[in-house]
Amino acid sequence: MARSRQLAPGVGRFSRSQSAARRGLYKGLKKSDKPAPAETPAHKEVSVGGEKNGGTRLVPTSKAPRFYPAEDVRQPKKSRKSPKPAKLRQSIVPGSVLILLAGRFRGKRVVFLKQLDSGLLLVTGPYKINGVPLRRVNQAYVIATSTKVDLEGIKVDPKINDAYFAKTATKGASSAEAEFFEEGKPKAKEPFPESKSADQKEIDKTVIAAVQKQENLAKYLKASFGLSKGQFPHQMVF
C-alpha cells in the first residue's frame, strides 16, 4: 500500500475518505482464516520435592521480568522486509565466462554453470585448465564477459546444491596447538573426498569438450585477468 504523503504536520495529501478509497476499504476488511491461538493457562502445576512442601504448587506459566528499565524505552519498528536470493544478471547465462574478482581465485576466468537456490553462482574452472574446482561464487564479485561456451544439453547433477558445499561438522574441543600439530609434527591434511573429485571430473568432461571447440579458449581460461596501465574497467568492453 503506497503511503499517503504528509504535506505539513497533521495535513496529509489525501483526506480520510480518499485514503480509505485508495486502500480499497469499500471492498471490506479481509478476514483471516487462521484459527485463534490455543489458550494457554496462566498457572501450571509443578511438582515440588521435600516432605513437608505439599507435593505440588501452582506456578505462573511465564515468569515476570526481574528488571524493568527506569523510563519506557521506544521499541524499534519490526521490519517487514525479507531477504530474497539475488536476481541473476541478464548478461550471465549457463556457459558464460566470468572473471572472479575476490577470494582465493581472484583474477581467474571460469565457466558459469547454474545459479543455486541461495542465489550464489555455481562455477567450475574447469579444474584441469585453471585449478578452480566446482565452487560457489557471489554474483557481486564477478565480471560477466560476453564470451560464452556452448553448454547446450549439459545437466548438472541436482545433488550439487548448497548443502553439498556445507562444511562437515568438526569437534571443536581440541586446543589451537592440537589443530595443526599431532605429536610434534605437522598434522597430515584430510585427503580430498573421492566422491567430490569424481563429481568434478564428470562435469568437467563436457565443459572441456565444449571449450576445445573454440580456438584459444582453453589458453584464455588458463590465463589470469589483470589491468595494465591506461586500462579502466568502466571504459572497457567485457
Partner: protein, 133 residues
C-alpha cells in the same frame, strides 16, 4: 601573396562531424549561413540536411569542386557518386586510423587476449629473423 591555407570552408567541402547524433560521419557543405554555421548534407552517409556550427566540424582535404551553391540533396548525392568521395575518404589513412581506434575500443576481453597472442607471435617471428640476419 598566396595564402598558406589549403582547406577552406566553402560549398562542396567534405567535413567530418565531431558532435551530435551523427558524430563520426562525413557530410558536404551545401551552403554557408554566416560566420558560425553552414548547411551540411550527407545523403550517402545518413546525415540529414541541417544547419551545423563550424566548431563541431572538422574540414577534410576532400571537396566536391563542381557543386553549385544551395544544391539539394539529390544533386549532392549524384556528385558524391560521380567523384567516389566516400570511397576516397574510407581509403584515406585518417579514416583508417579512426576505424582502428574504434575497433580497439570495442574489443571484448577474449578478443583482447587474442590480440595479445597475435602480437606475441609477430614479435617472435621478428626476433627470430633479426637474430638470423
Amino acid at each position: 601573396q598566396d595564402s598558406n591555407f589549403k582547406r577552406f570552408v566553402e560549398v562542396g567541402r567534405v567535413v567530418l562531424l565531431k558532435a551530435g547524433p551523427s558524430a563520426g560521419k562525413i557530410a558536404v557543405i551545401a551552403e554557408i549561413i554566416d560566420h558560425n554555421r553552414a548547411i551540411i548534407d550527407g545523403p550517402l552517409t545518413d546525415v540529414p540536411r541541417q544547419s551545423f556550427p563550424y566548431r563541431h566540424l572538422t574540414l577534410t582535404p576532400l571537396a566536391l569542386t563542381k557543386l553549385p551553391r544551395a544544391a539539394g540533396s539529390g544533386v549532392i548525392r549524384k556528385q558524391l557518386e560521380k567523384e567516389g568521395t566516400i570511397a576516397k575518404w574510407e581509403n584515406s589513412s585518417w579514416a583508417k586510423k579512426r576505424a582502428a581506434v574504434e575497433k580497439r575500443r570495442s574489443l571484448n576481453d577474449f578478443e583482447r587476449f587474442g590480440v595479445m597472442l597475435a602480437k606475441k607471435a609477430r614479435r617472435d617471428v621478428v626476433r627470430k629473423s633479426v637474430a638470423k640476419a
